[in-house]
């Protein structure tokens, strides 16, 4: 749980005491840009072979790629390897990226899922070999399911990218379970403003989940 603001004079959005707030994405600092805006431009430049576009894609998405890999594989070494491979493959396979079929983030996460699956399969083969094929029972419990992790991470990432006030309203609604009326009195924002912030914020997170989370074969 994060902070519950005491009723009283509203704090300025972006004021210091917001301990649960995550740092802004490296290049998403405006926070207002929907994923498809800059990503669309980056994707076109990537397809065209612009090396700078790979760096921009990395700045915007390496955090999500790495976090998903780390949570599923539970190994810093493997998570870093996967992250490296995702961007190497994104560059080499840039010609196969089809903007008509989805955005840059779902595409990168599709590569990420395959890399993670390969890594898990390799571990399983190594384990089976170590135990001897005859004795290999059901696979041991590994980390959480990749799809579930991916959904949680992309939603958290989109929350990070929301504009400050929107993010605050969403956090109060989701984490602190406040009603819109309570959020209004806690923040001092008019009820209508709270409603529109919440609606827009949730909407963005939901679209990101639906588009970028578990798009099969992306």
């Amino acid at each position: 749980m994060t902070e519950i603001l005491p009723p009283g004079p509203p704090r300025e959005p972006g004021s210091a005491a917001d301990p649960g707030r995550l740092p802004s994405p490296v290049t998403g600092s405006t926070g207002s840009a929907a994923a498809e805006g800059p990503d669309g431009e980056i994707a076109l430049r990537l397809r065209a072979g612009d090396p700078e576009a790979l760096r921009l894609a990395y700045d915007r998405h390496a955090r999500v790629v790495h976090t998903v890999a780390l949570r599923v594989l539970q190994s810093h070494h493997d998570a870093e390897d996967v992250t490296q491979q995702v961007f190497v493959r994104a560059w080499r396979g840039r010609g196969s990226f089809d903007p008509e079929r989805g955005g840059l983030a779902p595409w990168l996460l599709g590569i990420t899922r395959r890399q993670i699956a390969d890594r898990l399969a390799l571990r399983e083969r190594e384990r089976a070999a170590a135990e001897g094929a005859a004795r290999a029972g059901p696979p041991p419990p590994v980390g959480p399911r990749p799809e579930q992790v991916l959904d949680v991470v992309v939603v958290a990432d989109e929350l990070d990218r929301l504009p400050e006030t929107q993010r605050r309203v969403v956090r109060l609604a989701f984490y602190d379970d406040l009603t819109q009326q309570q959020i209004s009195s806690v923040t001092g924002l008019p009820l209508g403003t709270v409603k529109s912030h919440l609606r827009r914020g949730v909407d963005r997170m939901r679209r990101r989940w639906e588009a970028g989370g578990a798009a099969p074969g992306a």
């Binding site: 431009e41 065209a48 490296q84």
Partner: protein, 243 residues
């Protein structure tokens, strides 16, 4: 049937404590709105699961490893291996069209004006179709345009060949080849392509000895119209690297 508004659905999804009776009744009978509420609840649930677990950036060494592994692949500057695949600069999007038009209008003259290439005549030595062929890549993959370009030195002259397969050339139009720099701010008109068969357009051009190919490193093929305007139309079909 009046559906609840978006705010009411957000309310219904998030405030489980005092549901609005009217909205609740509606949701029982309306699968569409129910699905909407479920999606909102799912989003909130995912957000709660991710609460207070900050995402983790990879250490900076990972980017360095990406660059190391890609090596020269990533270097598409003029120093890139000449035999490598063509690098294509693309119009970032349709709405950039006017920008390129503006750039075309501001063509920086080379040697005192818009350059015009010298097209090989019939008496010239036979030039291979596309020596060291580099692909020309369609800017709009849906256009179906494919082609190649190549640069050869024959008898001390640099000769650039361009070949493009493209069927959708509008009536009253033709295809023209250009050399341009990366930002499409400097253009050199090579000349029109000639129809070399059904849907096939080709051109062979002798380049002036001092033409700076390290700057004008991109071959561009555009659709032009017989409108008396010698500048680039802004309608680029395909591009590739001139190497």
């Amino acid at each position: 049937m009046r559906h609840p508004g978006p705010d009411e659905l957000v309310d219904a999804a998030l405030s489980t404590r005092d549901p609005d009776p009217g909205t609740e009744a509606h949701l029982r009978g309306c699968p569409t709105c129910r699905a909407e509420v479920e999606a909102l609840r799912g989003t909130a649930q995912l957000a709660r699961e991710g609460a207070d677990r900050p995402l983790q950036d990879p250490p900076p060494t990972v980017w360095e490893r990406v660059v190391d592994e890609l090596g020269p692949d990533l270097d598409t500057g003029p120093a890139a291996a000449p035999a490598g695949p063509g690098t294509v600069t693309t119009l970032p999007s349709r709405r950039r069209g006017p920008l390129l038009l503006a750039a075309a209008a501001l063509v920086v003259g080379l040697a005192g004006g818009v350059g015009i290439g010298l097209t090989l005549g019939p008496g010239d030595p036979e030039v291979p179709d596309a020596p060291g062929a580099v692909p020309l890549v369609a800017l709009d993959p849906g256009s179906g345009a494919t082609g190649s370009t190549g640069l050869a030195e024959i008898g001390g002259r640099r000769i650039l060949t361009v070949a493009l397969e493209h069927s959708a050339v509008p009536a009253g139009g033709y295809l023209e080849a250009w050399l341009m720099d990366e930002g499409a701010t400097r253009l050199y008109a090579l000349g029109g392509l000639t129809a070399g068969g059904p849907d096939r357009w080709t051109g062979r051009f002798v380049l002036p000895a001092d033409l700076p190919l390290d700057v004008l490193d991109t071959v561009d093929v555009s659709v032009e119209h017989f409108d008396g305007n010698p500048g680039h139309s802004g309608e680029s079909l395909a591009r590739g690297r001139a190497t």
